[in-house]
Amino acid sequence: ASAGRGAGGSSEAKPASPNPGLRMVDAGDEVPRGIGHLRATPPVRKYARDHNIDLGSLKGTGTNGLITREDVVRAS
C-alpha cells in the first residue's frame, strides 16, 4: 500500500517525520476527471462549471474544435 496522505514526509534523511496530518478533502468526495483533452478557454470552462454543464457532452464549433461560450449557452 502506498504511503497515505500525511503518512510522513518524503525525505528519508529527515530526522523525525512531522506529525501525521489528515485529509483536508473527504476521501469520499467525487473526483472530477481529467477533461484537458477538450478545448475551451477558462471563462468558458467556468461558465460551464457554474451552470453544471458537462463539457464532455459538447462538440466545439470553434477553431480546431474549441468549445465556445455559444456552444455552452446553446446547451444550457
Partner: protein, 355 residues
C-alpha cells in the same frame, strides 16, 4: 616566546607587548584555554548525542583564539568564520547563543551588536570584506576602535580575501586580518593554497605582517596587540599568520584518517598550547595542581551551562520561518505565510495536531 617545552625565549619584537602578563594573568589565559577546550569537547559530544547537527572542533587552536580574543578591546568588532567558538567565549557569548546555530535551531547565534562580533560565517572568506568595510567606517568615523577578521589558511585562496586586503590597504583601514593557519582546509594541506608563507602574501598587498607560533598564547597575544596598535595609528591594515594545527576533524562530519598521517598529529600534539603554558608556569613556581583544579571547575561550569542550554533550548516555530526575511512587510511573503498557516490549520482542525 614560550617553546613547546615551556621555556621562555626572549623575543624583543613581541615581549614588549606582553610585559604585563604576570603569573596570575598567564594563569587566566590557561584557564581560558582549558575552558574552550572543554567547550569544544562538549560540542563534539553533543553532536554525537544528536543534540547538535554539526560541530567544528577548535582542538589545538586554543592559543590562537584566546591569545587574540583576549587582546581585543570591547569596542573592537570581530568578523569570524565558523570555528571561532573560543573568540566568542572571550566575548561573553552565552551558551544558548553559542550552540543555537549548530543545533540547527536558528540561522545564527548571538546578536552581533551585543557582543561586537558578527555571526558565524560559513562562506569562506566572505566576512573579510565585511570587516574591511566596517573598518573603513571606523576610519571615516574617526573611531579609536579596530576591526579584526578571522579566517583559515584555505580561505587565503579566495578572491574575496585578496580583495579585502586591497580595500583595507587602499583606505588604510584599521583592520587586523587574523589567519589561523591550521595546516588543513578539510583534506587539503596548506601547500595546495600557497607555495610560500601566507604572511608574505599579505606583505605584497602592503600590510604590516606578523607570522607567529599560533600555539603560543603569549606570542599570539603580543602579535595581536602589536597589530591592533599598528592599525589604530591609521597606518593601514595588518596581517597575522598564526601557525597552528587542527588536531581534530574538520567538522564532526569529517574523517581525517582518510587523508592525514598519524605521525603529523603526534608531532603537533607535542606542541600543545596548554601543556606549554602549564610547563612554563611550573617553571615559574606556580601551583599547578591548584591551577588545574580551578580550570577544571571553570570548565565544568561552562559545560554545565552548555548542557543546560541544550536541554532548555526551544525548537523554532513556523513563525521563525517567515520572520526577518525582510525588515518590513513584503506582500508576497505575507501571502505565503498566511497560506501556509491556513494549510497547517487544516491539519489541526481535524484533531491531529500541527505538522
Amino acid at each position: 616566546v614560550i617553546s613547546p617545552d615551556g621555556t621562555r625565549h626572549p623575543c624583543p619584537e613581541l615581549d614588549e607587548w606582553v610585559g604585563d602578563i604576570d603569573v596570575p594573568a598567564l594563569e587566566k589565559l590557561y584557564i581560558d584555554m582549558a575552558c574552550i577546550r572543554r567547550l569544544d569537547a562538549e560540542g563534539t559530544a553533543l553532536q554525537r548525542q544528536g543534540e547538535l547537527g554539526l560541530w567544528a572542533p577548535l582542538l589545538g587552536q586554543e592559543a590562537a583564539q584566546i591569545g587574540s580574543g583576549r587582546a581585543l578591546e570591547n569596542d573592537d568588532f570581530i568578523f569570524p568564520s565558523y570555528r571561532e567558538h573560543g573568540v566568542a567565549y572571550c566575548r561573553g557569548v552565552n551558551p544558548h547563543d553559542l550552540l543555537r546555530m549548530w543545533r540547527g535551531a536558528a540561522p545564527s547565534g548571538w546578536n552581533p551588536y551585543e557582543v561586537n562580533m558578527a555571526n558565524q560565517q560559513i562562506v569562506i572568506g566572505a566576512q573579510t570584506l565585511h570587516a574591511a568595510g566596517y573598518a573603513m567606517g571606523l576610519k571615516f568615523d574617526g573611531s579609536a576602535a579596530a576591526a579584526i577578521t578571522y579566517f583559515g589558511d584555505g580561505a587565503t585562496s579566495q578572491g574575496d580575501v585578496s580583495e579585502a586586503m586591497v580595500f583595507a590597504a587602499s583606505y588604510q583601514a584599521p583592520l587586523v586580518f587574523f589567519c589561523q593557519n591550521n595546516h588543513w582546509a578539510i583534506s587539503e594541506p596548506v601547500a595546495r593554497q600557497t607555495t610560500g608563507h601566507i604572511a608574505d602574501r599579505a606583505a605584497g598587498f602592503g600590510l604590516a605582517t606578523w607570522r607567529v607560533d599560533g600555539n603560543d598564547v603569549l606570542a599570539v597575544m603580543a602579535a595581536t596587540r602589536a597589530a591592533l596598535a599598528h592599525v589604530r595609528t591609521g597606518s593601514g591594515p595588518a596581517f597575522i599568520e598564526a601557525v597552528t594545527y587542527r588536531m581534530g576533524a574538520h567538522t564532526t562530519a569529517d574523517d581525517p584518517t582518510r587523508y592525514r598521517d598519524a605521525l603529523e598529529l603526534e608531532e603537533w600534539a607535542a606542541k600543545d598550547p596548554l601543556d606549554r603554558v602549564a610547563a612554563h608556569l611550573d617553571s615559574l613556581g606556580a601551583d599547578l595542581g591548584e591551577l588545574k583544579k580551578r580550570s577544571e571547575s571553570a570548565a565544568d561550569e561552562l559545560a554545565a551551562g552548555l548542557r543546560e542550554a541544550i536541554t532548555t533550548m526551544p525548537d523554532p516555530t513556523v513563525d521563525d520561518l517567515f520572520a526577518h526575511v525582510y525588515s518590513h512587510p513584503h506582500q508576497g511573503l505575507e501571502e505565503q505565510r498566511e497560506n501556509y498557516s491556513n494549510y497547517l490549520a487544516g491539519f489541526a482542525v481535524q484533531g491531529q495536531g500541527t505538522k
